[in-house]
């Protein structure tokens, strides 16, 4: 086993531990904890068995396994970024509602 694999897997085990600790503290919900665990376990699998990504890559028609991960990461990041934008927009609208209510307070 390569040193980088050991380090990364150790970090992921830590991440799983933290996820369930937070879930126990009820900082995150059970469903969320399961989702995070799936993500961490998948990452650990890819690190320990890198050839699995090559198999997926070949099925999808992409050359190398690393490329599949890269493409998937970019797509996921874009989705996450867009979601953030929408959340900010909703917050902005709530802020406007508050500011408006305050501005109209003296109008009957």
């Amino acid at each position: 086993m390569l040193l980088i694999q050991i380090i990364l897997v150790a970090i992921l085990i830590g991440a799983i531990y933290m996820t369930w600790k937070r879930s126990k503290e009820q900082a995150i919900g059970f469903r969320e904890a399961v989702l995070w665990t799936i993500l961490w376990v998948t990452a650990a699998m890819i690190i320990l068995l890198p050839q699995t990504t090559t198999t997926i890559a070949n099925i999808l028609g992409v050359g190398r396994g690393v490329d599949v991960i890269l493409y998937a990461s970019v797509i996921l990041l874009f989705i996450a970024l867009f979601r953030l934008h929408v959340i900010v927009e909703r917050l902005e609208r709530k802020l406007t509602d508050i500011v408006r209510a305050e501005a109209l307070r003296d109008i009957k």
């Binding site: 934008h85 802020l95 109209l104």
Partner: protein
């Protein structure tokens, strides 16, 4: 009643208020969180002045002003810019279709015969592009001549129904879409816009067109 949203309009707001006053029963100025003396100058003019604690954008200010006008029992509501771009002498002609019952919402258009003073070439081109965008993606009819009309008038009943949520520049397109696709009687009348170096410096830039597209797109998901 006229609604004037104002953000950093010190030095201009007074003139605009005085110019609008003769044409309406009441003027409502919404100071949109200005950090200059806009608010002080506005309250000196003996009109109703509301204040946003923080800047929320022109669309938000118009909505605040419109709600205030409805609470104060307005029959007709006119939206007009604070920077003096819109010529208040067109107010009687913009509310005429409302009074006659020919329309519930009237838009002032820059492209109906009256040539706007000093409209830059770039602005003309961007407005052409905006018109195409409005038709293709927003479903606003092609016969709407002005895609970013800021001067408009509406009846109280129409204002009560018109639920525009875009806080910033995108409210123009949003209001056009809601109006032309909703069950409203509407029309356009020609108005003149004065482009001065001041209003151009502070007003919309051509690149804002892209920001507007983005805001409209985000708005779909934020509802």
């Amino acid at each position: 009643m006229a609604i004037i949203p104002a953000f950093q309009e010190a030095g201009r707001i007074k003139n605009t208020i005085e110019a609008v006053k003769p044409y309406v029963n009441r003027v409502i100025v919404v100071d949109d969180g200005s950090t200059d003396t806009t608010f002080i100058e506005a309250i000196q003019s003996d009109v109703t002045v509301l204040r946003h604690m923080v800047n929320r954008g022109q669309g938000a200010a118009l909505r605040t002003g419109t709600e205030a006008a409805l609470r104060l029992g307005a029959e007709c509501i006119i939206h007009i810019d604070a920077d003096g771009q819109h010529d208040p002498s067109f107010i009687p002609s913009i509310i005429e279709p409302l009074k006659k019952g020919e329309a519930e919402i009237v838009f002032g258009s820059r492209f109906l015969g009256i040539t706007s003073a000093n409209m830059p070439f770039m602005r003309r081109m961007v407005l052409k592009a905006a018109k195409t965008f409005n038709t293709l993606l927003m479903g606003i009819p092609r016969h709407v001549t002005d895609p970013q009309s800021g001067m408009r008038a509406m009846t109280a009943a129409a204002a009560r129904r018109l639920n525009f949520r875009q806080d910033r520049m995108a409210h123009c397109s949003e209001i056009l879409r809601l109006t032309t696709r909703g069950a409203y009687k509407w029309c356009e009348i020609p108005v003149r816009i004065h482009y001065s170096s001041e209003s151009l410096a502070k007003g919309q830039k051509s690149s804002d067109a892209l920001v507007i597209v983005w805001q409209l797109f985000l708005g779909i998901f934020a509802d």
